[in-house]
Symmetry: C2
Subunit: 328 residues, 2 copies
């Protein structure tokens, strides 16, 4: 299996992207096509000795900056690394694309180059919120700021398909992110979607709130891309706030510092559980191809895990499962 | 100063409500009117010896249950404790109302009995998200699931007024909760509000995301009541998730347990910083009276702190400041 990695996407690309690809080539059962300017990528690869087999470079002369207006940049720069990677996927040269670039750019490029799966209104980004061992998949996490009820119903189907194939769940529990349990709660969008989800064959458990997600009561959390993006970012920031707060308090006294040394491994375990880079990337669902979006701040480990997610999604046959999404 | 406490509101009322009132009467410079069924409240008060002065009971024979459809229950039950408390405020018998009851019930009762401040479109609930020492005030945190742009502009004014008076800030930094920094980001509501906020005299710093709130870059976070409620609950759940995770990891090995004993005070300090009950209640802004909403799970400490918030809001002259809110 060959996976295309947008080697220029992300705050720490290409250095960390290439390092992650080298790790993945050593440990995973896949080959990786690094997409970006050849001289730059060759210089990065020269750092590794011996170089694992299964790495190749595909030339892409342009780049979408993290702060560029993504849609415009992607349309203008035909040879941006993200566009070249998507075209490889479109042409069947690779099995999946991984990028830590600007999310808007990845979504736009996927829509331009791959297009949507038949009958899908809008693609959605799935993100994992911390909960039980695998996390809860929330979608849309930011591809569509404005949503119609029918989009969210499809998000529920696509999220269920993803959890079935990726985690072997028979009947993933689907919840609607809302501001209360009762079915009449929320804004107009949420109330309409509630009624529509009830009439699907999905394992719809009703409205869910933050506490339900954290305690592992739901597997797929459905919401619009505005609310979902804010929920994911607030959750991430709150987690880091607590971790930083604990670190600050533990450095206030010598006796704390000594005790904290004994707890080093424990804190390491906690960090592992909370570290976004351990989750790997998150899927862009609903386009004609396996696309994994990695965190903008991805380091080598995060890139390696995103490549692993891509490999797993291809192996699991996620696209075939998504093709079963009801068209209405 | 006399403050009315809805002694029947909250998951742990009236026991914890009365306990909190007793603590407040001992420590704060205010008297408290406990509103609820007299026999029940007398029985609760009989537990305390000596009983501090400044406590009185106001009879209310009905009660709004936490799971009742709040709007209907408040309208139907004229003598619900929350309605009796609001009428005392309306008639000038008390200076403020504190309730840990169903938020919808508190908002409905305030609107029915007090009404809105002149020119205010919708009242908003302010909630504190963890950040620098005082937290960032996010509003609306759940009073209005559906909002128009003009509401959010008033929320910005009301939030600024609150932070000016309560925390002595000269020019609170106002941010719009959004899914990116650029002014064209977000849904239609967010984009319209952005343009409107730019034209106010407020200290508008643009769009903000989770990370900006956590690092203390903003004092007032403006959003609709659907998104705001979800953000507050996701943040709260994420914080508790981390705290629980750390506790679980620290109990896996004896050596961790021993080290954790040395850190007991440190963990206590962290808990204090994160504990919702330390913040006291949050304000309902835009109605004709000082109303403080306490957390539904309030314990005695949380009730005491909510009463303290009410006392501070009255002393700070928050209503006078809110009356200056532009009417458009």
């Amino acid at each position: 299996m060959l996976i295309a990695l947008d080697a220029m996407g992300g705050d720490r690309a290409p250095h960390e992207a290439v390092a992650g690809a080298v790790q993945a080539a050593r440990r995973l059962d896949c080959a990786i096509a690094l997409v970006g300017p050849r001289p730059l990528l060759e210089a990065e690869l020269a750092r590794y000795e011996p170089l694992p087999s299964g790495l190749q470079i595909i030339e892409a002369s342009q780049n979408v900056e993290m702060d560029e207006s993504s849609a415009r940049a992607v349309r203008k720069k035909r040879d941006a690394s993200i566009n070249v990677a998507m075209r490889l996927l479109k042409e069947g040269e690779v099995s999946a694309v991984v990028s830590a670039g600007n999310t808007g750019a990845v979504v736009t490029s996927a829509l331009l180059n791959l297009g949507r799966l038949p009958g899908i209104h809008r693609p959605a980004i799935g993100a994992l919120l911390p909960s039980s061992e695998h996390g809860a998949l929330i979608l849309d996490a930011g591809a569509n700021a404005e949503c119609k009820p029918a989009y969210l119903v499809q998000f529920a189907h696509m999220g269920s398909a993803y959890m079935r194939r990726m985690f072997g769940m028979a009947r993933p529990r689907v919840g609607l992110l809302n501001i209360g349990e009762e079915e009449n709660k929320g804004n107009e969008l949420a109330r309409e979607v509630y009624q529509k989800l009830r009439r699907t064959h999905l394992n719809f458990i009703g409205n869910v709130e933050g506490k339900d997600i954290a305690r592992g009561a739901v597997d797929v959390v459905v919401t619009d891309g505005f609310t979902g993006n804010i929920a994911v970012k607030v959750s991430e920031a709150s987690v880091m706030f607590v971790v930083d707060l604990i670190r600050d308090v533990l450095t206030t006294r010598l006796q704390y510092k000594l005790a904290a040394i004994a707890l080093r491994q424990a804190f390491y375990d906690v960090r592992q559980r909370l570290d976004y880079s351990e989750y790997g990337g998150v899927p862009l669902l609903g386009v004609k191809g396996v696309v994994i979006v990695a965190h903008g701040r991805s380091d080598a480990n995060a890139f390696k895990n995103a490549l692993r997610s891509a490999e797993e999604a291809v192996t699991a046959g996620i696209l075939e499962e998504l093709a079963e999404t009801p068209k209405k």
